[in-house]
């Protein structure tokens, strides 16, 4: 297994020093992917292929601004394909967090 080189991923938003993120969740998604790979959850080539499939599905008119949306979709797809987490569990958890925000009073910590 070769060391991951995220910088070689086609279309990755970056500057001279490395990847750049428009919003914090993008960095979280990036970090999750790198760490899952480092801990052996999938080979980097599998990740590159999953991401590439999502980017291809987006079509050539995609201008790159939604790069991390495709990244996240690819990560969800790979995580469920590898049975690291179930698609249903992910969906349930996402809705549970949303509900927790909506019911938690201002200024209070949001917990499930």
């Amino acid at each position: 297994m070769s060391a991951p080189d995220p910088l070689k991923l086609p279309g990755l938003p970056r500057d001279a020093e490395g990847p750049v993120f428009a919003e914090p969740w993008q960095a979280q998604a990036f970090a999750l992917t790198v760490q899952l790979h480092e801990r052996g959850a999938f080979a980097w080539s599998e990740w590159a292929e999953a991401l590439s499939d999502q980017l291809k599905a987006a079509g050539p008119q995609d201008d790159g601004s939604r790069y991390y949306e495709h990244w996240l979709a690819a990560l969800e797809q790979l995580v469920t394909a590898k049975q690291l987490a179930g698609a249903g569990a992910l969906r349930d958890r996402r809705h549970a967090w949303e509900a927790a925000y909506l019911r938690t009073p201002h200024g209070k910590p949001v917990t499930l």
């Binding site: 999750l32 899952l36 987490a85």
Partner: protein, 207 residues
């Protein structure tokens, strides 16, 4: 200063709930929590990766806001009156529509920002929060012992300078406007922006 609240926002105010994050944020959160629970990822290692890139989100946005405020008194007045709108003037919007408030350091007062509950942070202007900002010691000590925390950052303030600590919430976040350093009268706005540090805008550093 909340006159530009959307109806949507009022609705949530009325329900006493918080505005939920975007679909993307919720999905990443769901993934992260499930994978952490299963022991497949380590939250500390995730933080370390994110921390490595912390300066890569909107690194100079806040510095531009501060430099403009130093450079243009009319902008400064608008910023102090309605920071959300003044920051949006420079094209910096994002997040979940939280409101911004600018707090200005003066000869007699120093401002410092914390989020005691979690890690609310004005990322459209300051980028990703540094790991120490999210740490329990900073969050708990900033309010109880702000001068001690500042000393840990190498900032010693004379007793006559008042320290004001601002506790962020999901709806209201703060940007510290540091004092313009002496001897910078001849500098351009770009040169001024280069002097402004992230920690200066959180209030854990003086310029």
């Amino acid at each position: 200063m909340t006159h530009d609240d959307s109806d949507h926002h009022h609705e949530h105010d009325h329900e006493h709930g918080q505005h939920p994050p975007s679909d993307m944020e919720l999905r990443v959160k769901a993934l992260e929590f499930l994978l952490v629970e299963k022991g497949l990822v380590d939250p500390a290692a995730l933080d370390a990766i994110v921390d490595h890139f912390e300066h890569k989100v909107g690194p100079r946005n806040g510095a531009r806001v501060v430099a403009r405020a130093w450079f243009d008194p009319a902008y400064r007045a608008r910023l102090m009156e309605d920071a959300t709108a003044a920051i949006a003037e420079l094209g910096y919007v994002g997040g979940q529509g939280e409101h911004m408030m600018a707090v200005e350091n003066t000869a007699g007062a120093h401002n410092m920002v914390v989020c005691t509950l979690c890690s609310c942070y004005p990322w459209p202007v300051l980028g990703l929060p540094p790991v120490w900002y999210k740490s329990a010691p900073y969050r708990s000590r900033a309010v109880i012992d702000p001068r001690g925390v500042l000393a840990d950052f190498g900032v010693t303030l004379p007793d006559e300078i008042e320290v004001r600590v601002w506790d962020s919430t999901a709806e209201l976040r703060y940007l510290v406007i540091p004092e313009r350093p002496a001897g910078t009268e001849a500098l351009s706005e770009d040169q001024l922006a280069a002097l402004v540090t992230r920690d200066g805008m959180i209030g854990t550093a003086r310029l």
